[in-house]
């Protein structure tokens, strides 16, 4: 099983390490493993079954589609990142 890195935004570091390593072959599986290990993250990333409206998911710096992001395949060393889709001043 490939090991991937999950990067979290700074405000969520209080619920986990900023970068979590999990074994997963897809973005959805990596997210499940992340939340199994750190369940306190769940209400901040998801709103019921879907991502919160201003949370975006990236793999290796590329934003994934909001509908199909869970299916994105991952390979060893990939970085899955959750960020807030609000920036600038």
């Amino acid at each position: 099983m490939p090991v991937v890195r999950v990067r979290l935004p700074g405000l969520l570091e209080r619920f986990a390490e900023r970068e979590v390593r999990v074994e997963a072959t897809s973005a959805g599986e990596a997210t499940r493993r992340l939340l199994e290990r750190h369940p306190a993250l769940e209400p901040h990333l998801s709103d019921g079954s879907t991502l919160r409206p201003h949370v975006r998911v990236l793999v290796n710096g590329r934003v994934l589609d909001e509908e199909t992001w869970r299916d994105r395949e991952l390979r060893a060393g990939d970085e899955l990142a959750f960020i807030q889709a609000v920036s600038g001043g």
Partner: protein, 361 residues
Amino acid sequence: MVAVRLLVGTRKGLFVLESDEAREDWTVRGPALEGWAVANTLVDPRVDSRTLAVVGHFVYGPTVHRSSDRGETWTQVEASPAFDGADDRDLDQVWTVAPGARTEPDVLYAGVAEAALFRSADGGEIWTEVVGLQRHESREEWFPGKGGLCVHSIVVHPADPDRIWLGISAVGVLRTDDRGETWEIVNDGLGTIEEAAAGDSDAGSCVHRLVGDPDHPDRLFQQNHLGVYRSRNGGDEWEALDDGLPSTFGFPMAMHPRDPDTLYVLPLESGEVRMVPDGEPAVYRTRDTGDAWERMDRGLPTDSWVTVLRHAMAVDDGDPVGVYVGTTGGDLYHSADEGDSWAELPVTLPRVLGLEAVTVA
């Protein structure tokens, strides 16, 4: 020795100010929960060391946190208020946590937006919705205030856990006598704001803050969008109290902890302007349950065009009682003599959302 602790919830975290009995010199700790909005905190008077905070963020959503070390460190509770997803309601914010009856020290309630009530039976770790509120016949007619459709005030009868009052913007006061299974709107005598007047129900009164009198549980007070009101019969009827007040609008209200005839409000100019009148903040105090109000502004600034939000006023349990006010500009003012005179606390904070003051034994 610390005698008074003031927990200050702000838009960007929680700050803790401490002083000795004289309340002249203050130390400032924080921010805890840095970057998170802390709408309100509760130091539970029934259980030593139980402190809860309602925490939120516009991206990462709302949860409840607890502290057992006087606000120094915080841990998210196991299951914060959340809707079950069976309908399209969004839980935007937890507005407040309130203690249940004295006879049930592990029961707490939480008020949220979109308007709903949650209950915890284990001291705040696990929250479940009191679904009876959603079944009220007027539910479809509820209209949000500017801050959203929110349950912001919860008063539990101190000795009868079945009787609870809620303040909901812009719906009014709802009362249950069966622990939340069924509810009655008790707005008789309150004004209705035009934009919230709906259907045939009694909903549509914009209560801004509801306060109960623990020594006389049938006595309630509220700062409403349209005035300050008193009920002597559990909310069945309300009477306007405006003798001496400069406006009908305002948000916060606090009751003296030992003399329930004494209350404090901070009037603002109109629902359209929402600043202190003439840029001169002033607390108004009554000593007779609201029949007359006196202006208390000695030591408060001029040319200060601020707003004070609904939870941003608190009283401590000292003798004389200390009164605290936090502004949207991040300033804190306090009185160590029950409101007679005021001084600014030595800190400028983010927008102040909620204050909780406790006297430490």
